[in-house]
């Protein structure tokens, strides 16, 4: 349905994949944001058992719920994408989530996290490693061509 007759993937599929990756990153940013409002784990637990949350912890729980929701929806979209897109094609693109989370955490004023050259280089190397891990190996490429 999402693959046209000549075997090319329709733009709609790429959009779904893009949104899935975006939601993964947004989910992480929401979860991090929630911890910034959290007063403390034991306090939160006590307030939950007494049904009386402070406004800070209410905000924390709101962002946390939004984070979980984004995470869950992105997972569903991911499974949907994998039903017609090869894992080896979709998985390397997932490294974009690392870029989005990093750029979001460093650039958005809510987080305002520190960065330096060595941190940037480390993350770049990790992303390269993730792409190498998730690209199809030469043996798998040979198998796929012979299957055609």
């Amino acid at each position: 349905m999402s693959v046209s007759e000549d075997g090319k993937i329709k733009p709609r599929s790429w959009i779904i994949l893009g949104v899935a990756i975006l939601l993964t990153a947004v989910g992480q940013l929401f979860m991090k944001l929630s911890t910034q409002y959290l007063s403390g784990w034991s306090e939160l637990w006590q307030q939950l058992t007494e049904y009386s949350l402070t406004s800070g912890n209410q905000t924390a729980l709101l962002w946390f719920s939004l984070g979980i929701l984004s995470y869950f929806v992105s997972m569903l979209m991911w499974v949907y994408v994998l039903s017609f897109l090869k894992l080896s094609k979709a998985y390397p693109l997932f490294s974009i989530a690392y870029v989005l989370v990093y750029v979001g955490a460093v650039c958005l004023p809510q987080f305002n996290e520190t960065t330096n050259l060595q941190k940037n280089i480390g993350i770049l190397i990790i992303i390269i490693g993730v792409v190498i891990v998730s690209l199809p190996s030469s043996r798998e490429r040979v198998m796929r061509t012979s299957n055609k």
Partner: protein, 121 residues
């Protein structure tokens, strides 16, 4: 923002439970492939599926503990340790044949983590 022993332990637990949950999902899918007749309810109640969900939940809990202490721009890239654990699990638990390319990728990830940690601490 410093990596204390507690934070490091929470990160390890988070990654271990998350990759453990993913390996259990694989185990569940292998089991379903063999039993064609089982109903969806029986599948959802299988020990592998319930276990994988519980593991992923615990992984998320430990992840939230990590996030309360560590910058996201440092913590999130460290989640790539997952790739290392999954590869080891695929090799030694599922006896999969791992192409050299994947070991190389995992090695590159570990180098990146080393560089990142040195730059951040």
């Amino acid at each position: 923002m410093i990596f204390t022993r507690e934070v490091f332990l929470a990160l390890l637990c988070s990654v271990a439970f998350t990759s453990g949950g993913q390996l259990l999902q694989k185990q569940a899918s292998l089991k379903y492939a063999n039993i064609k007749s089982s109903s969806i309810f029986r599948r959802l109640l299988s020990i592998e599926f319930v276990g994988s969900t519980a593991f992923l939940g615990l992984g998320l809990l430990f992840w939230m503990i990590v996030l309360t202490k560590v910058e996201l721009s440092l913590a999130y890239p460290l989640l790539s340790i997952n790739y290392v654990l999954i590869l080891l699990g695929a090799r030694y638990l599922f006896k999969e044949k791992i192409p050299l390319q994947r070991w190389l990728g995992v090695f590159v990830i570990l180098v990146g983590i080393g560089v990142l940690l040195r730059g951040a601490i």
